[in-house]
């Protein structure tokens, strides 16, 4: 009953012309949250779209980073002033969908089933994703990968690690100190939810159990935290990057490019950027395992806010179709490092020998074999932002007890009315 009235309200607002929806027929607005190089590629694609047809015109607006963009979307939803299309991180899709603020994209279901890689689309990215209406189309999809400085590794006669123990050895070997100051760190990684999830999986756990209770990986979650803590405080081979959210990711990239760190974990999304700017030979490797290989998927999905109707909706759908087409998906992927989401497109790339010539682009695709789906849990986002992320920082940077921190996180979730439980 509640959700229904919300949707009606939004629809009414939209048709009543409230909010700044002053779009002429054939126009649509796109809110995006990329900067730098990836932004250029996106705008290129928009230009291509305009070149390929003349009925639809896209007005793209930059809204900051993922989280700022999410803030903008939410406040926009709140007053009925939303874009036609925007993109959001996977973890927040169930929340928005269940709150009834996304438009189901039924018109595109057939095409998606036919050509989009199910592992990357809604169907495979969420447990039970294909049992629900289609809300999200994969746009920039990634996995975390390990980038390493080939020159530094060759110098030390090392190979990229395949298990956690090797990772510690390699990082220690590559750390160079000059008195009190560390000239080069062995390893760096943003202290972020995404990478913790990866390690949690590698240690054999799941963040949310099959019955929906939030276990935060139980022992595996603690092990993941301890791995970082050991490398930072005991081995002193891992540099914790400064800044919060995406500032930390930026800093990790800068440190790597400047030669201050020999190996980093970050998104495959930066592959093109790092390749272009590295003054050394760049190596890309899959993440190591502890008891198994495991990576989460990342990046964003295109969504259309509820209440978008008529000519605007048609325009939005046309744009989405274009972005999902093999040519566009390939252009996006090959110019950034994200994965090509169109199966036809991927076949074309194989046929052209793209992956043979650029094996680095294949690393993330190969890792898909170990990709873990997100639970379709509306509280997933809250778990990430409120319960876990701040405590990750605390545990790692302030050397607090990992088990205690995660127990605290679970307690805070219980306070918020979210059911928690033990792993297994």
């Amino acid at each position: 009953m509640t959700r229904l009235s919300r949707r009606h309200l939004l629809a009414a607002l939209a048709t009543a012309g409230c909010g700044s929806r002053e779009l002429s027929p054939g126009e649509m607005s796109l809110w995006f949250t990329y900067g730098g190089r990836n932004r250029k590629v996106l705008l290129e694609l928009v230009d291509r779209f305009h070149g390929a047809q003349s009925k639809v015109k896209v007005q793209p607006t930059f809204q900051g980073d993922y989280f700022e963009g999410l803030v903008k979307l939410r406040t926009g939803l709140f007053v009925g002033s939303t874009p036609t299309v925007t993109h959001v991180i996977g973890e927040v899709v169930p929340y928005l969908a269940e709150a009834g603020v996304l438009s189901p994209l039924s018109e595109l279901e057939a095409e998606v089933k036919a050509d989009i890689d199910p592992v990357l689309g809604q169907a495979g990215s969420f447990v039970g994703g294909d049992e629900r209406p289609l809300y999200a189309l994969p746009f920039n999809r990634s996995t975390p990968v390990a980038y390493y400085n080939k020159n530094a590794f060759q110098e030390a006669g090392l190979k990229p690690p395949t298990i956690w123990a090797e990772m510690r050895e390699v990082a220690r070997a590559l750390t160079r100190r000059n008195g009190n100051r560390t000239e080069r760190w062995g390893f760096e990684c943003p202290i972020a939810w995404w990478f913790w999830i990866a390690m949690l999986g590698q240690a054999g756990g799941r963040v949310i159990e099959a019955d929906g209770r939030v276990s935060l990986g139980g022992d595996a979650g603690v092990e993941a935290l301890q791995h970082w803590q050991t490398m930072i405080h005991r081995d002193r081979s891992m540099k914790p990057p400064p800044g919060r959210d995406f500032n930390a990711w930026e800093a990790t990239n800068s440190d790597f490019l400047a030669g201050r760190v020999a190996m980093i974990w970050t998104s495959t999304a930066f592959l093109s950027y790092l390749t272009d700017n590295a003054s050394f030979e760049l190596g890309v490797a899959p993440l190591p395992q502890q008891v198994r290989f495991s990576v989460p998927t990342g990046g964003t999905f295109f969504v259309m806010p509820a209440g978008v109707k008529g000519a605007e909706r048609e325009a939005g759908l046309a744009f989405l179709r274009f972005m999902m087409s093999p040519a566009s998906a390939n252009h996006w992927a090959t110019n950034t490092g994200y994965m090509p989401v169109s199966l036809t497109g991927r076949q074309r790339l194989e046929a052209q020998g793209f992956f043979d010539a650029n094996p680095d682009f294949k690393v993330t695709l190969d890792q898909l074999a170990y990709a873990q789906a997100w639970p379709w849990a509306p509280e997933l986002f809250r778990v990430q932002r409120e319960a876990v992320q701040p405590r990750l920082e605390q545990a790692v940077l302030q050397q607090k007890d990992g088990a205690a921190m995660l127990a605290e996180a679970r307690a805070s979730l219980r306070e918020a009315g979210i059911a928690t439980g033990d792993a297994g």
């Binding site: 409230c18 809110w31 900067g35 990836n38 607006t61 406040t75 007053v79 002033s81 990711w249």
Partner: protein, 272 residues
């Protein structure tokens, strides 16, 4: 002045010079460096060659002209609106006896301490249902009253002799005429001060335009410069500093030209 005091002054001068002029010079210097230079030799004060590509990059990434105009329009509109509202209010608070005068005074005072983050959600809802989000009105209306300005005008009005008002009344002038056409010109220096102060203050508005604008139509320059820290590709300090220079230049220019007026505006409240 004694020699010791003189020496102390000189020491302070050097210290202040280094701490307050230094950073600006550094900002300008960085804006003319290339990214490679910044990475390799960050401490060199003067770039080996003046590289204006950072500025070009700013203009490419941001519609500087449009945002600058938006910022100007917004700041001027706010300043004018505040003057328009402060004149009658200052007049009533200064010259007219009425019950509730103290309460009105207190209300204005109390609102001084409420920052925009606190009022945001309800105001956003209101403006949203009126269809005003992402419009200039949303950026201007909430700041239509300046507590500071109201006090200033009140102060200035207090020193205007009652006889002028009485004479005007005898001449048959309406109160509105008196406020805007008689008293306005008399307190013109105060109004100019208020205008300058408000303009400079709201030129740098960040939070409100950040939340109230969804696209480039009415976005302001501080926002755009803050967004120059594009994510994931490493902070390009030369571009960010170039954006800073572009953002701050108009204010510096204004300061050089209208220094005394601005100073008077800031100090006026303290002496009231």
């Amino acid at each position: 002045m004694t020699r010791r005091a003189s020496m102390l002054s000189t020491v302070l001068l050097v210290l202040a010079g280094a701490l307050w002029v230094g950073p600006y010079l550094w900002m300008v210097s960085t804006s003319f460096k290339s990214m490679q230079e910044i990475v390799k030799a960050p401490a060199v004060p003067i770039p080996s060659s003046l590289d204006p590509s950072a500025y070009a990059a700013v203009f490419e990434a941001v519609p500087v002209g449009r945002f600058f105009v938006n910022t100007l329009v917004m700041a001027v509109a706010i300043a004018l609106l505040q003057i328009a509202l402060a004149l009658p209010a200052g007049y009533a608070l200064a010259k007219l006896r009425f019950t509730g005068r103290r309460a009105a005074f207190g209300l204005v005072l109390a609102c001084l301490i409420i920052p925009p983050q606190v009022t945001f959600v309800p105001v956003f809802t209101m403006l949203g249902s009126a269809g005003l989000v992402n419009t200039m009105a949303a950026l201007v209306l909430p700041f239509g009253v300046s507590a500071f300005g109201t006090f200033l005008v009140r102060q200035a009005m207090l020193s205007v002799p009652d006889s002028i008002i009485e004479a005007a009344r005898l001449d048959g002038a309406s109160e509105t005429y008196i406020i805007y056409r008689v008293l306005g010109p008399i307190v013109q220096p105060t109004l100019a001060a208020l205008f300058l102060f408000s303009f400079v203050y709201h030129y740098s508005d960040y939070f409100w335009p950040l939340m109230m604008t969804t696209d480039d139509r009415v976005r302001t320059l501080p926002l755009a410069v803050a967004l120059l820290r594009e994510q994931g590709t490493g902070a390009r300090w030369n571009i960010i500093m170039a954006g800073n220079v572009i953002l701050s230049l108009p204010i510096f220019a204004l300061f050089v030209v209208a220094q005394r007026r601005i100073l008077r505006a800031v100090t006026a409240r303290a002496l009231s």
